[in-house]
């Protein structure tokens, strides 16, 4: 099923939860709706499901306006953040519930329950009630209940957030695989950028109700449209430094207190018109190289070994930089380090509008 969200706005009294959101979700696509807490993700999802009426704008399923179709007639499957399993019914009856309401004959019902239970590996818990299941089992049962009616659209509201870290990684992969196998159009709400990056075909980043950018995970990571997206995508997040662009003689220099960064020739041309503007320099932790250097003003603040690499916080005049360093690097708090960035790895943003002015590879 193809879903079009057209200039959707949802206003609750004094809160504008969703602001002028337009989004096109292709048939069979896995779309992640990503944003920080309170940015309107759930509201968007509930509006698509039909629980809220749009304040303005429309929602179309396969080109058909559904604004007046109640949730029960939208042919959607939904997994709630709380799972919302019926506490007085066994897992089996939970999954059977939508089929019973549709008067699916008993025989077919049982077959379908068996199939979906096998697919999700929950045959064992079918006779149990939600209170007697682990979080991961509840999540699978909720998913089974959503899938058993073969919906045209699957809506998932942070379905992994109640699971422990290990199970979350397992379920991430399983859910992705399942979605691809079944080919159901899926909207997946999350505030976890890793989840969005790893699972989704495309990600829509939302901030304070407004859509920031839509694109493939790669797109958002490599070519963020603005400061918010750049800061949201990637862990650890991008470093930001307030800088100004100055022309000294023939050279273009990014300057911040004692720090100077001369732009190489190709960039000089494209950024010439930005001289004297206030800019924000973005540097990904993995793009910064550090090595001990006595004379440097930068000094190591803390080292956090992550196994595969080490996350080093470097104190530079007026700011802290997060740097991903090779694990074997011999650094300690207090070591003076020099730091270095390849000119083709830098991001620049307008300090006023926060729009991206320069991203690597452009």
């Amino acid at each position: 099923m193809r879903v079009s969200v057209d200039r959707l706005t949802k206003q609750f009294r004094d809160v504008r939860a969703v602001a002028d959101l337009s989004l096109e979700i292709r048939d069979g696509e896995f779309m992640a709706l990503l944003g920080p807490s309170g940015c309107g993700k759930t509201t968007t999802l509930l509006t698509i499901a039909g629980f809220y009426k749009p304040t303005s704008g429309t929602i179309l399923f396969d080109g058909r306006v559904v604004d007046n179709v109640p949730p029960r007639d939208r042919n959607i499957g939904m997994v709630f953040q709380s799972y919302a399993l019926y506490p007085h019914m066994t897992a089996h009856d939970n999954i059977a519930f939508p089929l019973k309401l549709r008067r699916v004959p008993r025989q077919e019902r049982e077959t379908r329950i068996k199939t979906v239970a096998a697919m999700l590996g929950i045959e064992d818990v079918l006779p149990r009630r939600p209170g007697e299941m682990s979080g991961g089992q509840q999540q699978r049962v909720a998913l089974a209940r959503a899938l058993v009616k073969k919906p045209g659209l699957l809506l998932l509201d942070e379905p992994l957030s109640n699971l422990d870290a290990k199970l979350r990684i397992v379920m991430r992969a399983e859910l992705k695989r399942l979605q691809k196998d079944l080919g159901i159009t899926t909207i997946f709400v999350t505030h976890d950028q890793t989840e969005a990056m790893t699972m989704a075909d495309r990600i829509a980043v939302q901030h304070q109700g407004a859509l920031q950018q839509v694109g493939s995970p790669e797109d958002l990571y490599r070519r963020p449209a603005n400061l918010f997206v750049a800061g949201f995508m990637g862990t650890p997040p991008m470093n930001f430094l307030d800088v100004s662009l100055e022309a000294t003689g023939d050279a273009l220099v990014l300057r911040r207190e004692s720090f100077r960064f001369s732009l190489p020739d190709p960039l000089k041309q494209s950024l010439g018109h930005l001289v004297d503007r206030k800019l924000i320099l973005g540097l990904r932790p993995e793009d910064i190289e550090i090595k001990p250097e006595e004379a440097s003003q930068a000094e190591v603040y803390v080292v956090e070994p992550l196994g595969r690499e080490a996350l080093v916080t470097v104190k530079v005049p007026g700011a802290m930089l997060k740097v991903l360093a090779p694990p074997h690097i011999q650094l300690q708090a207090g070591t003076h380090v020099g730091w270095h960035v390849m000119p083709d790895r830098i991001y620049l943003f307008d300090a006023g509008t926060e729009e991206a002015l320069l991203v690597p590879g452009s």
């Binding site: 509930l46 499901a49 629980f51 109640p70 949730p71 029960r72 959607i76 499957g77 939904m78 709630f80 953040q81 709380s82 919302a84 399993l85 019926y86 506490p87 007085h88 519930f97 939508p98 309401l101 549709r102 209940r145 959503a146 009616k149």
Partner: protein, 304 residues
């Protein structure tokens, strides 16, 4: 920490905090009950003499030897009254709660307030309201309306006395039942009913398959509560029909009252009360046994 506190203050604290209320319960509950039990074995009348006559009162009550011809009728009245008012209260309370919480949440507060008014009124006023509404002359509310549109007046309290006292008591019970059910419905997570809606349930199906099963405990509690409450109730019957016409609405405890305080047959009246207390205690034990006392006292409102 807890254990230390418990050990140190232990008995003394228990006596200090529980003492006064325990004393009150003994003084105002157990003492009267014991006195009543004793009186039931006497022929005490207007003269207040303690003449013990063994099981005489009970023999009469059960129709052994000199029988009381009114007892069977009163028994039937009590059963009809209790079993009539119970569904009015429980089903009425459920209907209003579901309607005001789910169907028309906007009008909910208004609705619940209206049905709470009876509880806020002094019993005499509530009784008088019913008596006045169904007054048999053209000054009664319904008869006034009927005369105004040219219909003949109806002797409501003579033609439908039982229905009227059942409704008066049932409606009064609704206030508490509705309050308990509404509170329980309010604790049902929003996502649950939303999930049911996505699953294809209509509002009626949501109520039947989700809301009502989750209200199981509140419903059982309210049923048990009001069963005992109606079994012992006589105030409104007394205020509205006085038990009449000719004992048609005379219920057990009202008869006990009439025997003791109108006919001054204290001994005989006490025998009725003793029997009622026995029935009450048996019912209570039965209820606690069926529900499990622990569960009833510790369970949350709904099972989630």
């Amino acid at each position: 920490m807890r254990d230390v506190l418990r050990k140190r203050s232990g008995r003394g604290a228990l006596a200090f905090f529980m003492g006064p209320s325990a004393a009150l319960v003994v003084l105002f509950y157990f003492v009267p009950v014991i006195l009543t039990f004793l009186i039931a074995f006497t022929s005490m009348g207007r003269t207040l003499l303690w003449d013990f006559i063994g099981l005489g009162n009970f023999a009469r009550l059960f129709g052994i030897g000199a029988r009381d011809p009114l007892v069977p009728r009163i028994l039937v009245n009590t059963v009809v009254f209790t079993l009539g008012a119970l569904p009015v209260t429980v089903i009425g309370g459920l209907l209003i709660s579901v309607f005001s919480m789910r169907v028309r949440p906007g009008a909910g507060l208004f609705f619940r307030s209206v049905f709470f008014i009876p509880r806020a009124l002094p019993p005499v006023v509530w009784g008088f309201l019913w008596a006045w509404s169904f007054e048999g002359t053209r000054y009664g509310l319904f008869n006034a309306i009927r005369s105004a549109v040219g219909l003949p007046i109806v002797q409501w309290l003579i033609r439908y006395p039982m229905i009227i006292v059942v409704l008066a008591n049932g409606f009064l019970g609704i206030s508490l039942a509705m309050l308990v059910f509404s509170a329980a419905i309010a604790t049902i997570p929003r996502d649950l009913t939303r999930a049911a809606e996505v699953d294809g349930a209509s509002e009626g199906q949501i109520t039947r398959h989700i809301i009502l099963p989750l209200l199981r405990w509140p419903i059982l509690t309210m049923t048990a509560w009001h069963l005992m409450s109606f079994l012992n109730s006589y105030v409104y019957v007394m205020l509205i029909t006085g038990g009449g016409p000719y004992y048609m609405t005379e219920v057990w405890s009202l008869y006990a009252y009439h025997m003791a305080f109108v006919q001054y047959r204290y001994g005989y009246g006490a025998a009725f009360v003793v029997l009622l207390v026995v029935v009450n205690v048996s019912l209570l034990l039965l209820v606690l046994r069926a529900f499990g006392m622990r569960r009833m006292l510790t369970r949350g409102k709904i099972e989630v």
